[in-house]
């Protein structure tokens, strides 16, 4: 039994959902993904509860400090140890099965440790008072310590946590993914569905790993410098350049923006790989692989520099030419999305679809991602940026992109779950999960976009003015529906039945 299998087995409740199937000889590609997926659901439970606390603090007029604590923790838990870790878990399982290589050794173990330990340290720091929001808002961490709002110890702990999470996302996971793709010996006994790099189902994984590594390296350099200074290894004067707000903000958004794009590339690739498996006529082919690959390349090329749209309203400190470049590139991603829309719908039109909950979750997650893409393009336009930047519109955009990708990965997990655990999920509960998630996800997204359109500020603990509480109430209602969908999904995982258990088909036959 591997360490990862032992971690899963030793975890109460959540461990039962992902007990690794050791009977198939696939433990080497199942164990670490199972541990990562399990851990991601633990963080989802944390993030979900915190997400509901935010509107509750506004409705019941609680201390605004609670709002900013939950704001920081909810965003960080949802984006990194839940969403990213779920992607890593399912993505690695896909990679292992596609290239026939084991997911063993120190790299996956370090990915798991750095992500979860980092997130835990950040959580402790936030509970100590380190309320800097999901995006750190540099130099707020240092200014807050200078003003005595939080302690320097919490800053050091928080930065250490963030650094460990970033080390997983920028270095360890991409290196693991790339080493599996390009190095090591293929083992036929581990090949589940062989794919080449020309396959859209594989290309996105490679592009995603490269994007994270390249776009994240400047942030690693800046983060390392700051951390060394915070620990007193180098004098603060040597880290002054890294502590410049402009330097930190630009390297942060070069990474953070491309992190979302890398996750989009990865999940689009997973969709291109999964959709053909559910075509009604059994052809197992997309309408056009070339078109699907073109969409991935366009998304990659346009997204790399579109991060400039984050600074449009800082004019003239960001020159108008760069802002407009960010504007054009952001709308360029829409061309990739248009190609993707055509490829997916033409594939279904040509070959029919077996509408099982997993693939429907993937497709509805993708539809939510299209809504998110439209909202992102609009807010990236220079003119609209001036009336939307800093409003709930952008919280809606960030939350929707994470939710959309999570729904897609949870859909893909339906396909991988029987391989990992040797058990199957109930399709009726699966259908209920999809229904609830769709209503909750689209509802919350549209409510937040409407709040932004009405000028409701994001990260702002005073909703009860200008009629904004209406949007707050809607966010709460749709948030509860989303929460219910997660409960249904978790219940389905908990009561999954053995593949050989005919009783399991009793419910599934409906």
């Amino acid at each position: 039994m591997t360490i990862a299998t032992a971690i899963v087995q030793g975890t109460p409740i959540f461990g039962r959902m992902f007990t690794v199937d050791k009977s198939t000889g696939l433990e080497e590609i199942n164990a670490w993904p199972a541990a990562m997926i399990m851990a991601s659901f633990v963080w989802l439970a944390v993030a979900g509860l915190l997400g509901l606390v935010m509107p509750a603090t506004q409705m019941f007029d609680l201390d605004s400090g609670h709002f900013y604590t939950t704001l920081t923790l909810h965003g960080a838990a949802l984006a990194f140890p839940f969403s990213f870790q779920l992607m890593v878990g399912v993505g690695l399982h896909r990679s292992g099965g596609c290239v026939g290589k084991p997911i063993t050794g120190w790299l996956p173990a370090m990915c798991f440790i750095t992500m979860n330990l980092g997130a835990a340290l950040l959580t402790v720091a936030v509970l100590m008072g380190f309320k800097v929001s999901l995006v750190v808002m540099f130099p707020l961490p240092l200014v807050g310590a200078q003003m005595g709002i939080w302690s320097m110890n919490s800053v050091i702990l928080g930065f250490t946590g963030i650094y460990l999470v970033l080390a997983c996302m920028i270095l360890l996971y991409p290196l693991l993914g790339l080493s599996m793709l390009f190095f090591g010996k293929k083992r036929q006994d581990l090949v589940l569905s062989e794919r080449s790099l020309n396959d859209p189902g594989m290309l996105g994984m490679t592009l995603s790993a490269l994007t994270l590594l390249i776009a994240g390296l400047p942030l690693v350099v800046v983060g390392t410098t700051l951390l060394l200074a915070l620990y007193g290894v180098i004098p603060m004067s040597m880290a002054a350049w890294a502590a410049e707000p402009v330097v930190f903000q630009y390297v942060f958004y070069i990474f953070a923006h491309n992190l979302m794009e890398a996750m989009a590339l990865m999940v689009s690739s997973a969709m291109y790989a999964t959709l053909p498996l559910y075509l009604a006529d059994g052809t197992r082919k997309l309408f056009s692989d070339k078109l699907a690959n073109t969409a991935l390349w366009i998304l990659l090329l346009t997204s790399i520099t579109s991060f400039l749209h984050h600074f449009i309203t800082a004019y003239p400190n960001q020159p108008a030419s760069l802002s407009y470049w960010g504007n054009i590139m952001s709308w360029g991603t829409g061309i990739g999305a248009a190609i993707s829309i055509f490829t997916v719908l033409a594939t279904i039109w040509q070959h029919g679809l077996r509408a099982e909950p997993g693939i429907i979750a993937v497709l509805l997650g993708w539809a939510l991602y299209i809504l998110d893409g439209a909202s992102a393009m609009v807010t990236s336009n220079v003119a609209w940026a001036y009336v939307l930047h800093g409003t709930m519109w952008q919280s809606g955009h960030t939350m929707t992109v994470i939710l959309a990708m999570s729904l897609m990965w949870m859909g893909v997990l339906y396909h991988h779950y029987p391989v990992i655990t040797g058990r199957k999920l109930d399709p009726v509960l699966g259908t209920w999960f999809v229904r609830l998630f769709t209503v909750g996800g689209f509802g919350a997204a549209i409510a937040m976009l409407a709040g932004g359109a009405a000028g409701m500020p994001r990260r702002f603990a005073d909703w009860n003015q200008e009629g904004w509480m209406l949007y707050g109430n809607l966010i709460m209602i749709f948030g509860l529906i989303l929460g219910a969908s997660f409960v249904v999904y978790a219940y389905n995982l908990l009561q999954s039945r053995d593949l050989s258990d005919t009783l399991g088909q009793r419910v599934g036959a409906t």
Binding site: S133, Q249, W349, G352, V382, A454, G455
Partner: protein, 190 residues
């Protein structure tokens, strides 16, 4: 029309305008090919290729049109128009510090361009101006340590009390970082 289009609610309806046709098409294709008839499609590939061409052309034209229409609302255009418009430009200089604004003036005249120029002293701050009816007119992002002030040129049309809010999270009293700007009637018009 364009003024509404490039407002907050204009952004919302443009987004919905992109979502709703997609959602309709998405639902139709999935419903038709999984519930009504999941058999292989009979549409010839050549027809699908033509459709692909029409679809991508339409998307491209819509994207370009929207972005061309937005040029007028870019701040650099507003600055240039103010500079060449012949009207004196009113100056509002401000410094944002946690959690208040120091402003050179708090009263400006409607109908004359106002140049807002601001800096952040400690951490990142925003400066969003809200119309008395609750609409946000514009927002600015200030980062500490930059060489130039962030600027926007805006011409107010309606007199009244305008709210100013910080829209960049700046710590535990961020929501309290608010101020007011009085816009008076255009004296030349009285």
């Amino acid at each position: 029309m364009l003024d509404f289009l490039f407002s907050g609610w204009g952004a919302f309806w443009v987004t919905m305008g992109m979502l709703l046709p997609f959602a309709g098409m998405f639902w139709y294709v999935i419903h038709r090919k999984s519930v009504v008839d999941s058999g292989p499609g009979t549409t010839p590939p050549a027809k699908l290729s033509r459709l692909e061409g029409y679809w991508l052309t339409a998307v491209f034209v819509i994207f370009v049109s929207i972005n061309l229409a937005s040029l007028k609302f870019m701040p650099i255009i507003a600055t240039a128009r103010a500079a060449t418009g012949g009207l004196p430009v009113q100056e509002v200089q401000f410094t944002a510090t946690s959690w208040s604004y120091e402003m050179s003036v708090r009263e400006v005249e409607a109908g004359k361009p106002v140049r807002f120029a601001g800096r952040a002293k400690d951490t990142q701050h925003g400066f969003a101006v809200y119309h008395p009816d609750g609409r946000m007119l514009f927002t600015m992002l200030m980062m500490p340590g930059v060489s130039k002030p962030t600027t926007v040129v805006h011409t107010f049309t309606d007199p009244g009390k305008y709210k100013i809010r910080c829209l960049e999270y700046c710590g535990i009293a961020h929501h309290g970082m608010q101020d007011e700007l009085i816009v008076t009637k255009n004296k030349a018009a009285i």
